[in-house]
């Protein structure tokens, strides 16, 4: 085993870093004969009782706590209270100490170093009485949460077979020195960072599916423009601007096209812009309002909002503008559609008794389900694994960013009270 091998993670090597992750996962599975402990695709899930022991060494408790919070938030784990543990952190794993308190899985770890931390983490299966995963991680004390999320992600993947969301980020819009600005944070609401991109207005950003770019609309100096931020070069570029209102939707799956709405020539229209050669195609033309196009993750359909029937409702059509059909019929105000990653659901905002609530519906108009009932809720979208929904809400006063499981459980605010935040979008990776 070679130790101390380092990878300088720079912009260019991010892709390699991803490749690296794939490799580690690959090998962990090969070595350990991966077994799915929780079938999270099953409709009735029994939570897995797990013991997460304080790690020994620097910040060991904090790292273990981050892992515990992450796993608990998914709703698939039952974390056993540490007071019940019979085995000390320093003692060798003995399955008998854990089966008596009902733990089916145990996480133990050690941390070395002060600023530069090295954590060695093991996952044990108590019924088989053996270690099923062991990995060494390097990180810094300054980004300790990221280290904890990385470990939690590996454990989650080992147990459920799915990638999880613990290393994802959330882009959002918030007040920035009297203007609106773009921000990034970790999915748990920590590490909030201003991106330094501001405008009189900035609307919710949309990520490319590889996570390397974002597209968003901003009004600057009286003109609505559509801007593209490239994280690999850290550059912003204006890709479309005109008179009227230009509001961008999301990227096509290949990342080379965006759909947006524009009123540049007096009528509303949905447009497709190919970024590589700036080819602009008009898809619809309407005397009424047509906005908020959302391309499905498979690239086949577009959900959008139109008031062609007298009230704003959600419609879908194919990418070339044909086969338009109405999706929502309940209520007089349905807006802000966004697709689930498997293309099977659309999450949107509907008005109920004068307040905005979040709903999920199938693209064929069936299986309508209201999942919020407090305050006004806006801008919903799914997590990359489709298991969570992020949104903004004013339920506790000023607008903040919240998340919940896709069935509406465990709703919680993740932005701090002092930040007026809205328009969140989960990074794809």
């Amino acid at each position: 085993m070679k130790k101390g091998v380092r990878c300088q993670v720079s912009g260019v090597s991010k892709k390699l870093f991803t490749v690296f992750l794939l490799f580690t996962i690959h090998f962990s599975f090969l070595t350990c004969e991966a077994k799915i402990y929780i079938d999270i695709t099953s409709p009735a899930i029994k939570k897995l009782p797990i013991a997460i022991q304080e790690f020994s060494g620097t910040e060991g408790k904090q790292i273990a706590d981050i892992i515990r919070e992450d796993l608990e938030f998914t709703g698939f784990f039952l974390s056993i209270d540490r007071a019940a543990y019979l085995e000390k952190s320093s003692e060798t794993f003995n399955p008998k100490n854990w089966t008596v308190i009902g733990a089916e899985a145990v996480i133990k770890g050690t941390v070395r170093g002060e600023q530069n931390l090295t954590a060695i983490v093991s996952l044990y299966d108590t019924s088989e009485g053996r270690e099923v995963l062991r990995k060494e991680y390097k990180g810094t004390k300054a980004s300790i949460r990221y280290l904890g999320h990385t470990i939690a992600g590996d454990i989650y993947q080992h147990i459920t077979g799915e990638k999880g969301i613990f290393r994802t980020k959330v882009a959002f819009v918030a007040e920035d020195e009297g203007k609106k600005g773009l921000y990034l944070m970790d999915w748990d609401g920590t590490a909030i960072k201003r991106l330094g991109i501001k405008g009189d207005f900035v609307l919710r950003p949309h990520w490319s599916q590889d996570g390397s770019r974002m597209v968003y609309s901003s009004e600057r100096g009286g003109q609505w423009g559509i801007y593209l931020l490239d994280f690999t070069k850290m550059t912003e570029k204006k890709v479309f601007a005109s008179r009227g209102l230009n509001i961008t939707g999301n990227f096509s799956p290949d990342g080379d096209e965006i759909m947006f709405s524009s009123s540049q020539d007096e009528t509303y229209g949905l447009y497709n812009l190919r970024i590589s050669d700036s080819k602009l195609t008009r898809i619809t033309s309407a005397r009424w309002i047509e906005i908020s196009p959302a391309v499905s993750p498979d690239g086949k359909l577009v959900a959008f909002v139109s008031d062609r029937g007298g009230t704003p409702q959600i419609y879908i059509m194919n990418r070339s503008g044909y086969d338009t059909r109405r999706v929502t019929f309940e209520g007089s105000y349905n807006t802000s559609p966004s697709w689930s990653p498997d293309n099977k659901k659309i999450v949107f905002v509907g008005r109920v008794s004068g307040k905005h609530q979040i709903f999920i519906i199938s693209p064929d108009g069936s299986a309508l389900n209201q999942i919020t009932d407090k305050g006004n809720n806006e801008d919903p979208s799914f997590s990359p694994d489709g298991r969570f929904i992020i949104f903004s809400s004013d339920r506790n006063g000023g607008s903040g960013i919240y998340m919940m499981r896709a069935n509406g459980e465990s709703q919680k605010k993740i932005t701090p009270p002092w930040l007026r935040a809205f328009g969140p979008r989960w990074s794809p990776n």
Binding site: M1, K2, C7, Q8, R134, F201, I291, S332, Y333
Partner: protein, 191 residues
């Protein structure tokens, strides 16, 4: 780039060590990585480092041409109001729009920006569209009275600039409005 390649290669070697018995990995340059037989999962090293986007602030490569726009001050014409969720010009708004048209017929160089606004009971994007539709409905009425379209510009503020901040119907009604702002040819505010 070379350094990255070397790092990558190093990683591949690490994986080879960490991998299963009798499994070989071919490095990118065609070199065969060493083999190892392992009894137990050796720790796989992983660096928990944040992606690059969390570090630097982006550079703006393209500056945006700034069209000077006057501050939205209340003009001599006041505002016109709209029904909830609607953008059709109401009867009670028509005298105001006629007055704006008459004034523009007399002041041939004057330009006006119509700012469309909404109450807070809408979603952000749709409210921007609704505000714009209100401004354009008002503009079209003035155009139908004989003013050329190019002297009238529109902008939507959605729900971002409320006149009144209480959550009452009185207040919401005040916010569902179009305001008129004079603009001279230089782009500076008139009177």
């Amino acid at each position: 780039m070379k350094r990255i390649f070397v790092s990558f290669l190093a990683f591949v070697l690490v994986f080879a060590f960490a991998g299963c018995a009798k499994r070989t990995v071919t490095a990118p340059d065609g070199q065969e990585a060493p083999k190892e037989t392992a009894q137990k999962a050796a720790p796989v090293e992983q660096k928990a480092e944040e992606p690059v986007m969390a570090k630097a602030e982006p550079k703006k490569v393209e500056t945006v041409p700034v069209k000077e726009v006057t501050e939205a001050k209340s003009s001599q014409f006041g505002t016109i109001l709209f029904d909830f969720d609607k953008y059709t010009v109401r009867e009670d708004a028509k005298p105001t729009l006629k007055a704006v048209a008459d004034w523009m017929m007399k002041n041939k160089d004057a330009k006006i920006i119509l700012g469309g606004h909404c109450d807070e009971r809408g979603t952000n994007e749709y409210n921007l569209a609704l505000g714009e539709k209100r401004a354009k409905s008002a503009r079209d009425y003035i155009v139908s009275a004989g003013v050329t379209k190019k002297r009238l510009d529109t902008i939507s503020y959605g729900e971002e600039k409320p006149l009144c901040k209480e959550q009452t119907e009185d207040c919401w009604q005040k916010n569902r409005r179009v305001q008129f702002v004079h603009q001279t040819s230089s782009g500076k505010a008139g009177k």
